[in-house]
Each structure stands twice: as C-alpha cells, then as structure tokens.
Amino acid sequence: MLTALEIVAYTAASLFYLSYLIAPRRGGDRVGRAALGIGAAFQLVDVGVRCVHSQHPLSSVAEVMALVGWMIAVGFLIASVRYRLAAAGAFAAPAALVMLVLARVVPAAPGAPAMGMLGRAHILLATVGVAVFTLAAILAVLYLVEERQMKRKQFGRMLGGGTPLDTLDRLASRCVSLGFPVFTVAIVTGAVWIARLGFVTGMQSLRFEHLLAVVTWVAFGVLLVARVGAGWQGRRAAWLTLGGFGGAFLVLVVYFVRHAAS
C-alpha cells in the first residue's frame, strides 16, 4: 500500500517536472516539489515499517537501491529550496522512481550472512556516496545540454527556464566534494570488510566491482584535484563527473545483478 503511494507520488512528480521541462511556467515547479516531498515522506514511513519487520534499509541490495532513490529525492529537494532547479527535477524525480521500482520488483531476500557493523557502515556510506554522485551527474548532464544550447545560441528556448550555467557547475562541484570523502571512507571500510571476510572464510577474492569502485574513486579524486589545481570547470568537469558516476552506478548494478542471480 505504502509502496503504491510512493510510486504514485514519484510518478506524478516525474511527469510534472518533465512537462515543466517542455513548457516552463513561472513558479510552476511547486507542484512537482510537493509531489516529490510527499513521495519521500511516504517512503520514510515505509522505511520505518520495514525496519519493524527487520528489513532495515541496509539489509539487502534492494533496500539499498530504494534508499539511494530516497536520498536523491531528498537531496534534490534540499538543493531546490535555494536554487531554481526545476530542470534538474526532470532527472531527479524519475531517478528516484526508477530506483524505488527496481528495488520493489526484486523479492525481498535476506542480506549477506555475516554483515556486522563494518558491513553496515560500508553499505550506508557507499549508498550516500552514490546518491550524491547521482545528483552531481544530473547537474552535469543539465550543464552539458545547456552549455550546448548557449554555444548554439538557442537563447529563446533554454532548457526548463534555464538554471544558470554557473550555478549548475558550482552545485555539481559541491556534490562531488561532499560525496568524495564519504565514498572514500566507504571504500576503506569495504576493503577492510572484504579482507576480514576473506580471512574468515579463506575464499573471498577481489572481484570486478571492487576494481571498478576504486577506478570510480580515482576518477572523482582526479576531478577534485583538477578543479582546485588546474582550474578545470564546465564541460570537462561535467564529462569527468559523468564518467565517475557511470562507474559508481555500474558497481551498484553489478551488486544488484549478482544479488538477483544468487
């Protein structure tokens, strides 16, 4: 029941923001924001209910996916209080919706057998990191589209009323510098966790996704250094953000697929 309400609210928000993207109305993104807020509130209640049934947000990959979706929605809502980001909503709302739906179509399965505190910390931090990187990637996509319109002088029909390029770039940069330390700790805890598991069972080896996670981490690290050190910004930074996000997303997908397969 709650899930249905969440999906309805997120769908409404997505549709509204997408229509806003096509035909912007002044102050018209309030409805989308309200719908998204209601959806996020429902999901929060849902999380509480699931906790009672010992399906806390970190208990399975599916729950983690749902949590990522929720964080994207909430992160976007927080940012949109301060900035005009209606166009970004057309990405954030569907992203939250897709995450939630994906999470719910997979039957709830028990989590990893011996998770412990370390495992939980790793999953929580990785989740936050991926959610924040998703927001950064959304902003980067918008930046690239808008910058292209600017270059091509399509001034009249700027995407979704046009959040200024500078704002998009700055926010994306902030998301990355916020997500990076979190993701770093997630990688460290993950590495320690794997090492311990391997130590205990004697059969855990490095997998593709572990390597990918490190590559992602390096990509974002390079981006941060390049932004501060070499004054990278704008298009190049946006592409690198997308690359890093691609890696992070792929890690999540691999986990998801493996989990669904097992």
Partner: protein
Amino acid sequence: MSVDLHLVGVSHKTAPVAVREKLVIVPELADEALRRVGALSGLREVAVVSTCNRVEIYAVASDGAAALRLLSDHLAQRAQMAPADMAPHLYSRRAREALHHLFRVTASLDSLVLGEPQILGQVKDAYDLAVRCGTAGAVLGICFPGAFRVARRVRRDTAIARSPVSVSSVAVDLARQVFGGFEGRNVLLVGAGKMSDLAARAFRSHGASLTVTNRTLERAKELAARIGCLHHPFEDLAGAIARADIVLASTGARVPVLTRELVAQAQRARRGRRLFLIDIAVPRDVEPRCTDLEGVYLADIDDLQKVIADNRDGRRGEADRAEAIVEEEVVRFLDGQRGRKVGPTIAALRARFLGTAEGVAEKWSSSTPGLSERQRRAYFEMATEIAKKLLHDPSVALKARGAAAEGPALVQAVETLFGLAEAGATGAQLSAVEPAADEGDDGGRDKKAAEG
C-alpha cells in the same frame, strides 16, 4: 452605475510626434499646467498624464460632454492649432469607458512597447502631482489607486511584462543564463557608444562592476567619469578581457576588435573561466569563431534582436489575458463602488435606531422615580436589544442587494422612509462615485502600497 470620470488625450496611436511634442508637459512646468486645467469651469478634479507617447487629461465633472469639449479646446489651444485640425488626433472617453481606458493605460496595454514598466510610475507621478496641487479629490482618489492595483495584478498574473524587450535588458537576461547573478562580476565595455552606456547601467544596477576601454583614451575617460567606473588602456585589451566575466563590445571599428587569437590569449590567462561576449556593434566587433573556445559564449546584435522579437510575440499572446483582467476589474470596481454606497446608509440607519432606543430608555428611566442602577441599565439594554433585532433584516438586505442593479433605488428608499437624507449622514444624495464615508482609508492604503 457609472463614474463621473472623463478623459481627452492624444497618444502614439492617434497623433504623430509633431503633434505630441506640442502638448507634452515638461516636469518643471507640470504643476502650473495642471493648475491651469484645474481652473477650467465645471471640472471638479483633474490629473494630467504626460509621457513621450501620450498626453491625457482626466477630469471629474457632472456634465461629461461639456467637460470633454472644454478639454479638447484646451488641448488645441495649447498646441496652437485650430480645434478642427486638432480633432482627428484626439480621443475622448466618458464614464465607464474612461475608467477602462485608465486601467488599460496603467497596465501598459496601450503602450508602444506592450507591458513596459515605466508607464505605471508615470501615471503614479501624475496622480501624486494632482494630489499635491489639490486638483485630485475623492473620485480620482479611488480611480487612480484602483488603476495601480489592476496594473500590479496584470503584471503578477500574466507574462506580459516578464520577458525583456530591449537590447540592454535582453543582454542582461542572457548573461544571467551564464552567471546567475552579477554580484562581484566584472563587465568590460569595449567602445564608449550610447548603447554600451545603457547596457552598462543595466548591468551595474544588478551589482556588476564596470571597466571601460576605448581606442581613444579621452572617450573612455569621459564615459568612465559619466557612469563612474574605471578605464583600462586599449593597448592591453587581452589583459582587460582576462579580468572580465562579461564583455560588451560596441565600437565603430570596421574589422573585429576581439579576434579569436586575442580572446584565446585572454582565456589562457583566465584559465578557461566562463566568458560571455555581447557584440552590439555593426559591423561586428567579435569574431564569430570565438565560440570555438572552451567556456566562451557569444551573442551578437542579431541574436539579441531575435530574442526581442520572440519576447514581443510572447507579450502579444499575453495581452488578451491582460485585457480580460482589465475588463473584469472594471466590473469589480464599479460593483465595489455600489457596495460602498450601502455602508454609510447602514451606519446611519443603525445610528438612527439606536439613538431612538436610547432616547426612549433615557426618557422612561428618568420619569420613573426610585429606580435602582441595575433597573436603569435593564431599561437601556432592553431598548437597544429591540433596536438591534429590528435592524438586522434591513441591514442584511442592503448588504446583499446593494451591489445589484436595484441597489441605488433601495438605498434611496431606505433613506426616504427613515428620513436619513436630511440628517446628512449618508452619501446617497451625492453622485455615483462621489466620496463615500469609508473611501479615505482605502485610498490611503493603496497609495502607500504604490509608493512601496
């Protein structure tokens, strides 16, 4: 129900500038001109709206036709033209039509540039002047604030004034697409022409700081002094660009001043930070190839004109909605005036009833000896209670039907039946939009809002 407001005027739609310039009133002589109109016989109140696109005299008079003749002659005389020559350029409106016209003009629906914001301020100035000179009274005191309210509503509820339609404001708008705000941003003016002057002021009003550079140093210094900003040697154009976020080029040069090489050099110095080039010169000042450079955006005069044309179309599309709002507001305004008439009548009726009740109670209690204070109070309470009960139905009926067509007749009937008119307590014997007792509050409040 109608209004005693009438107007005669000329505008860009009816008269060429050759006629308008004879009528336009310079601000220094405005109060004298206004007083002269106010002294014409038969006009109770007057206000004159004078802009470069229109001169309109609004007057309050019981005899509308006579007032319009008088004002037409006055305008012809001012323009030193024969009334017959002047007539084709004049338009006149009476009563409801005049009110409707005032609302349209103030809401910028009659402007040359649809939705332009200055007209509201100009009409406000005209009204303020009339108030200062004592030529505005109760009728103008509700019509003009009413017009300001309508104008604000049109601006709020339609997109008519939303998108910019001048080169300088479009330039600011496009730069905002890149930078958001202009606090701490540097705008470099290359060339010291008239157009860059306007655009520079627009940028500065949004918080940007300005620098001027020009091939002739003298002109640069002159402009810098006029708008109060720094100037930079033209020889170091690349250095100047390196420090700017927005470059506004408007030189008279025949070949591009901002070549790709020059901008590339500047971009290296500024480490690829975003740079917005606005080229309003013809022939162009900025090489189009500059947009190949990372982080460089360019808008030339054609781009700006295209945005302006699009925005104009958008405004015309909104005009129909705005016209509907104006029409609705005229109806509401006139209904409100009718409703307003009822207030004083109810108050007078109430005063009459309660006064009578208290008088009778007073008479009885004083003619009955040996009453305690409590008994005396009981007399009074009973009397006023009866009066209030009796007041209830007529008050409700007046409130409910006062705004309808039979409202004035109803008010008249109540006043005749209860002898209120001779008590001088109501506004019913005054003409339609004459001051009602509660009008002062409303007008005052509105004026304050208008100033704010």
